[in-house]
Symmetry: C2
Subunit: 635 residues, 2 copies
Amino acid sequence: MPFNAFHQIFIKYKSIASTFMELLEEIFKYIDKNKIIGYRFEGPKVVLFTRDKELLVKAPQILQEIAKKVRRRIHIRYDPRLLKEEPEKIEKLIPKEAGLQRIYFEKGRGIVNIEVLFPEKIDLNTINKIKEETLWFPRIYRSPLIRSKTIDMVRAYMFQHSNERIKLLHEIGKNISEKWSIQKGQTWVRVSFLGGASQVGRSALLLQTKESRILLDFGVDLSLPPNNKNAYPIVELPEFDVKELDAVVITHAHLDHVGFVPFLYKMGYKGPVYLTPPTLDIATLSLLDYLRIANENNVKLFSGDDIRNFVKHSITIEYGQTTDIASDVKLTFYNAGHILGSALAHLNIANGYSNVLYTGDYKVKPTFLFDGAQIPQAKVNIAITESTYGDTYHKPREEVEKEFLSFVKEVIKRKGKLLIPVLGVGRAQEILYLLVKSIRANKLDEVPIYLDGVVWEITAIHTAYPEYLKEEIRNKILAGKNPFIDKFVHRAPRNREEIVYSTEPSIILATSGMLVGGPSVQYLKLMAEDPKNAIAFVSYQGPNTLGRQIQSGVREVEIDGQLIKINLEVRSFEGFSGHADKGEIESFLRRVRPGRVVINHGERSKVLHLASYLRKKLNVETNAPRNMDALALRI
Amino acid sequence: MPFNAFHQIFIKYKSIASTFMELLEEIFKYIDKNKIIGYRFEGPKVVLFTRDKELLVKAPQILQEIAKKVRRRIHIRYDPRLLKEEPEKIEKLIPKEAGLQRIYFEKGRGIVNIEVLFPEKIDLNTINKIKEETLWFPRIYRSPLIRSKTIDMVRAYMFQHSNERIKLLHEIGKNISEKWSIQKGQTWVRVSFLGGASQVGRSALLLQTKESRILLDFGVDLSLPPNNKNAYPIVELPEFDVKELDAVVITHAHLDHVGFVPFLYKMGYKGPVYLTPPTLDIATLSLLDYLRIANENNVKLFSGDDIRNFVKHSITIEYGQTTDIASDVKLTFYNAGHILGSALAHLNIANGYSNVLYTGDYKVKPTFLFDGAQIPQAKVNIAITESTYGDTYHKPREEVEKEFLSFVKEVIKRKGKLLIPVLGVGRAQEILYLLVKSIRANKLDEVPIYLDGVVWEITAIHTAYPEYLKEEIRNKILAGKNPFIDKFVHRAPRNREEIVYSTEPSIILATSGMLVGGPSVQYLKLMAEDPKNAIAFVSYQGPNTLGRQIQSGVREVEIDGQLIKINLEVRSFEGFSGHADKGEIESFLRRVRPGRVVINHGERSKVLHLASYLRKKLNVETNAPRNMDALALRI
């Protein structure tokens, strides 16, 4: 590096690469330049516009060729100025058995969005016919089996703001492409922990390279009340500047990973959030719910507008789809097996200078709903792993399942009510699936199951994404059979006393999962004094939460200023966890083979335990960072 | 913390404390307010101006009382506008035996600077008489026993720019005092490693608190050529912003700790550098020398003006003198035993929220010149220790001394020349003292000793600071006897061949110490092929340096494009080291009793070795950071 360049180090170096022009020229080796009337970015995608019908129809094959070569996703669409909205024409082309729900034209993009119950009934032939006969570029969406307000809202919002998104996405794509630098060159990578280091909650990692600043998750600590500053990421770290941020990556929709993202928009962030489609839907729902609770507590975190801004700036990507998210960072999501849409984030930095795998929350063994976390095909130099259960081995799943069902039977037999506090997404559907399956198979008496809080709505969202679920469940949904909902499953009535004071036994799944506000606390208050009733903890309880207190034997608690005696039966079932245990983490990392392991997302003692265990077992350097630490990501 | 305040986190919080007014009111309990016509800051000092002669003379006793109470250094001086320069009057008052050298009036400050050979001959009576008869505030300086251009230059420069410094120092003091906050409150402390982590060279630590940014050392890596970017601290770390910097602390004058400070002024830094008086003198000399070499290599690092700016912004403090260097940070230096003026830096952050001891380079056992490192009286939560020799035990000093002297004798006996590459300051004076003492005691034949490079000048500086040296040497200097220089010690002649090709044996001490440029390389070139000659390494040789190569057995090297055969005898003497060895580090830390130990300033393998050793031995958490890492300084 010449010395003059070195003296510009205080001026952030951004190479204005001519590489995008090179990319276009590469494309024009395959496509007649004269047939392209313009181009545009849609985030990481390059969209070429044509007036050549033949090219439009032939495009997919050609583009596959080009994509292999240039490693960018490319679309060819028809000149949108010449398109006419003709819903009837499209309606006719869609086969009846696909179950058409709605059609939405995005004029500025040349895209027609088609929502159907069974997308697999629309074949390539139909797609091509739509293109040929209407010149629109069809995009097919799946409807959930039961109506989901959230999905309707997110999709409608995206389509209504299509023109605004066109601008946003173009800016994002331009930023990535103009700075696009091929050379590995002089660079560096580090990560700062704004939260989630040696703690469970407020996961927030700031990845920094010479060129880019990327947030990996940006959550809240749900075990603290919303008026506690420590519930939020440490944004006052000097290297964090919302104005410098290039991208945000969200690994899954739990609020401890996504809960503070709208705050970024409040502070002026204008860039993208990368996440899977189900994560977008669930996150939107959870954020709205979280905002409501904050408002009820008179805490002004952010506004509905900030949440809408998050939706507007979202770019959804599927598992396995490698995407440029900054000039020097490529992101690939892999199934993490934790909840619907949960992802491991693989980051290839500066063309392999460093390959970082950030696991987010993950589960290695399969659960009812999901396959275990996928082993990334790509190289991994450094793994940043969670360690929620880094010092324990879960009981075998079948054993816990048996114990749980026999406990449920006991409670039903004595005509008690069983409260299961759940996080809304994850354990809720897992438990619900088990209960529904057991009742359907006559392994359990049919009793009413009530879903309170966001559980119902999130369950609906699950039915829109069968491809994210395990084969057995996927096939049920593809066959139009809802694996979660049956006639004995109900949305909880407004008046909770109706359920609690009924003489009939019942099962209640209610948020929050750690008894920190929400309906679950209200049920507890109503149910606690009757020893016939019971509470079953099926997920992680944060330190100092009401859940953890009761779990560890406290038998008198204060709720809403009232002293409540805990007479109901208390049981914990840890094997349902959506987190890898010590053994799973070890076996996962053995196959990933990183050169160094950084451990976060666990209580300090678990982080330290796992660090020392893995150092010996895998014979690699391990790190146990604290919040506010930063680590250079080298080996 | 109220939630509203939390939302201002992006606006850096600075409490505009009224504490300075409180301080003045405390002072006025002891001093009649009406006798004070104004006040001013001189860096951390508060200067009160009076027109009351009686108060001026009585001041010291009163101020001692107040200082105990308010923990700030306070001066009372006479209204400078009424002062007259009367050097003859002062000359008459100074006793002859003090050896008056020069008098310099700083009109704007009301200070008269008096340089003498023997300050201890000026008693309190004389001081008071000067005050009474001239109304000036006398400050007494010691002259070195042999003239030092550097000391003359630094002092003259300071005095000539007195008025400019008045403004600078006032601004610095105002910044500290206006933000002065007493409360421990919500704060945090972390340190980022811009250099010197897992390496020896370019020491540079950025201490960050919620309120302040402080650099601890800011050096260069002398083992790399000046056109290599990696020779300098990593200033592109996002949390480093020269505009945000509040203070720079320099632990000692070696270029790997101070070499890049002028670059800060080049980039617009306008704040203070805290260091001991000898460190200021030696650093100035070394920086000018370094600049000369960089210029010779056509590398534009910084200019002479930037070095002068460093001098102008320097605030010297003595061992044990606690000083506010930021609104929430108090600094105390302690003797580090490494070189003249070297210091351990103790930082009390936010009134004891965290107490950090940064050792810089240190030696625990006494050497010829210095007492071993002092154990700070203050509490230490976290120690950041060097580890240059973190995996080895030095040979006992007496043994090395014997071996060394017998080696010198051998070389003299066979009429060879002995080259000792030295760092200019440190081992040079240590070895010179040993040789002079041995010749004076007839334990060694009298042969000429030549000092080349900056060695002579730095030796002169040593004689100006006897209070920084061990008692034996101090007493010699106080008695006017130079412990380093005798008639057989010479400055090297311009023509080095005169020495090398003489038939008489001789000893040559020349910089640089690792044979990376400077006269030592030129001597080697001239001396290498004659097997009668010899080279003795007495200090640390960095990886990849010419010194390390020859030390480890390479017998043919390229110098200035010329192949040179190494026929001379090569010997290494590690026991002279100015660094603590593994045992010294352990025993030092056992007495300091930190709750956590961070290890830097050592090759990676030594850092890791020491981290694991101390973890077991002291049963505390140890950290082995890399460059670009940051550590939250909590236990």
